[in-house]
């Protein structure tokens, strides 16, 4: 029996969903191993129970909370896909400001009309079995996890910084180019794609288990940005994670 797989989206940009539809070369191979029973963005069908549920997006409203509990109850394995689901991602930036202020910026006088929750990771509400990190999640990571699950293998947690893959690709370090990069404290696994394309790492895959915040801030400020700006950069994708 092929495992029944479902995809669900919460508060997100749906880029991770699209990235799955963008697996053009592998899509047909994937369908040999799994049966997709729910994928709102691509199909009408719905099912009752799932072997593997992939969750995209942050939890940011009371109805999201209900829905994720429901999905968890009906799923054997639950996987958080992409930084919104894994740690709140960019959505969590709104948590940094007092919620009233956020609402005022957007709604002006009508701010009290609307209910909203902080943007939370899936794991802060229900148990998450596996994570696929990144904004967007990378297709290779997704496939790797899927194949692991098909093989019954427990995918180990990756805890090496982006710099590792950056070095293995023999990139010129952006710090040597006078740029500021979050690679040293960001959990790798993306093949350092941003530095490889000349752009700084924004920290989209979340931070290492034990990042050296102070050391990192010192590095960043030594390379020409203000402490304030350095903190903001760190928070971009990791507002829920950074402990300063």
């Amino acid at each position: 029996m092929k495992p029944k797989v479902a995809f669900f989206d919460f508060t997100s940009c749906e880029g991770c969903q699209l990235n799955k539809l963008n697996l053009e070369n592998d899509l047909l191979d994937i369908l040999k191993h799994v049966e997709i029973v729910e994928f709102r963005e691509a199909m009408d069908d719905k099912a009752d129970a799932y072997d593997i549920a992939f969750i995209e997006g942050s939890i940011s409203s009371p109805s999201c909370v209900e829905r994720i509990h429901d999905i968890r109850r009906r799923s054997k394995i639950l996987v958080a896909l992409g930084s919104c689901a894994v740690n709140g991602g960019v959505n969590a930036m709104k948590n940094l400001q007092p919620i009233d202020e956020v609402r005022e910026t957007v709604y002006g006088e009508d701010k009290y009309l609307f209910a909203t929750l902080p943007a939370m990771s899936v794991s802060s509400i229900v148990k998450v079995d596996y994570e696929v990190r990144g904004c967007p999640m990378t297709q290779q990571d997704f496939l790797k996890l899927l194949v692991s699950l098909v093989l019954g293998k427990q995918a180990p947690r990756y805890d090496s910084p982006v710099c590792v893959e950056c070095k293995l690709s023999e990139n010129e370090c952006l710090y040597n180019r006078g740029m500021v990069c979050l690679g040293p404290i960001t959990r790798g696994g993306c093949d350092a794609i941003c530095p490889s394309f000349g752009q700084f790492c924004t920290g989209c895959r979340g931070l290492l288990d034990e990042p050296n915040y102070i050391g990192m801030l010192e590095v960043m400020t030594n390379h020409g940005i203000s402490l304030d700006e350095a903190k903001k950069r760190m928070l971009l994708f990791n507002s829920n994670e950074v402990q300063l």
């Binding site: 592998d26 191979d29 994937i30 040999k32 191993h33 496939l143 790797k144 899927l146 194949v147 692991s148 098909v150 093989l151 805890d159 090496s160 910084p161 710099c163 590792v164 070095k167 293995l168 690709s169 023999e170 990139n171 010129e172 370090c173 710090y175 040597n176 180019r177 990069c181 690679g183 040293p184 404290i185 290492l208 288990d209 034990e210 990042p211 050296n212 102070i214 050391g215 990192m216 010192e218 590095v219 030594n222 390379h223």
Partner: protein, 344 residues
């Protein structure tokens, strides 16, 4: 030693000539301010005046990632990756880089010799080139001069605008057969290539410093600034630790086993099942890194396992300097000695 003069403008011709022996690998520009060793496609593009490449020459013999085998999950069989023995010329190599290869030879060939490394190394020829030390080079402090020729087959010494070419081995001589742009010359000593960065002690004295440095507070100071990115190990020419991983294709039928460079500066490096981590803190890891360079292997082989290329310092985002750490340890050691003497 035979010595010839070679015009700067004839260097590309020499490179082309060497191509007859095998693939030529030489320094090229890479990025805005960096260099890397690349196979030569156009000999005009080779850069002989460079400070250091991003990755060391090691990458040619112990590649950053390397496929060890293909396997099939259908019948649990595998096919080893063949590493052919291919002739190759490594051109424009600095003395410390050559020394690092000799050390790597020891690491990969002593005990049980590894065939993958051996095959890649078997038919390699090395052509050295002199360099002007920048603010990071300190190879003199670890006993390697600019003109150290051990390991090279030929050596190019930059003399004003042109080069002097030394024939160091018979293999080197063979490489030059049929190359007619050389003129017999007298060796000239080149003045003024000074190292700016120096370890305060002769390297012979360092193992003793390290003997008492295990509990130094210098490690904690370094650990405070170190962001643990692993760049120092991953660019080091004498580091050789690796990790092995299996990758399975989407078909879930075939896959491959790969190894890739690892770094003892990474938090999971010494973790075992059950979560016990034998080097849990950055402090333990930094210390291990330096002990690997100046104590553990050094005690056995009598040589520092650091060649002073300066990569770990130049490529450290936190500007942590190998030489500064050692000089701090020395200073601390001196202080301890002083106190001991005073007390007596």
């Amino acid at each position: 030693m035979e010595c010839y003069s070679l015009k700067q403008s004839d260097v590309p011709a020499l490179i082309d000539h060497l191509g007859a022996y095998g693939e030529v690998i030489a320094p090229h520009r890479k990025g805005d301010v960096s260099y890397s060793f690349e196979p030569v496609k156009d000999s005009e593009k080779v850069v002989l005046e460079y400070n250091r490449t991003l990755l060391p020459l090691k990458k040619c013999f112990l590649p950053p990632t390397e496929k060890l085998m293909d396997f099939s999950l259908k019948d649990m069989s595998y096919k080893p990756t063949e590493v052919p023995i291919k002739p190759a010329v490594y051109f424009g190599i600095h003395s410390y880089e050559m020394q690092s290869i000799l050390r790597l030879d020891h690491s990969m060939l002593s005990g049980k010799a590894e065939s993958n490394y051996f095959n890649r190394r078997k038919k390699s020829r090395f052509i050295g080139v002199s360099f002007s030390p920048d603010e990071y080079h300190f190879s003199e402090s670890v006993g390697i001069s600019i003109e150290e020729m051990e390991g090279f087959d030929l050596y190019l010494n930059k003399v004003s605008d042109d080069y002097q070419l030394y024939i160091i081995s018979d293999k080197g001589k063979d490489l030059l057969k049929g190359f007619d742009k050389l003129i017999q010359a007298e060796p000239i000593h080149v003045e003024g290539r000074e190292f700016n960065k120096k370890i305060r002690y002769h390297y012979n004295r360092l193992p003793r410093v390290f003997q008492y440095a295990y509990h130094s507070k210098v490690w904690a100071e370094v650990a405070e600034r170190c962001v643990g990115c692993g760049s120092c190990n991953l660019t080091c020419p004498t580091c050789f630790c690796f990790d092995v991983n299996d990758q399975v294709e989407v078909t879930a039928e075939d896959g491959m086993r790969r190894r890739s460079w690892d770094s003892c500066m990474l938090s999971t490096f010494a973790e075992v099942a059950g979560g016990e981590n034998f080097r849990e803190h950055t402090l333990n890891r930094t210390r291990h890194r330096l002990y690997r360079k100046f104590k553990y292997i050094t005690d056995e082989e009598g040589l520092p396992w650091c060649v002073g290329c300066g990569r770990c310092t130049a490529f450290c985002p936190a500007d942590i300097s190998m030489v500064d750490i050692i000089n701090d340890l020395i200073r601390e050691d001196e202080k301890a000695q002083f106190h001991k003497t005073v007390r007596v």
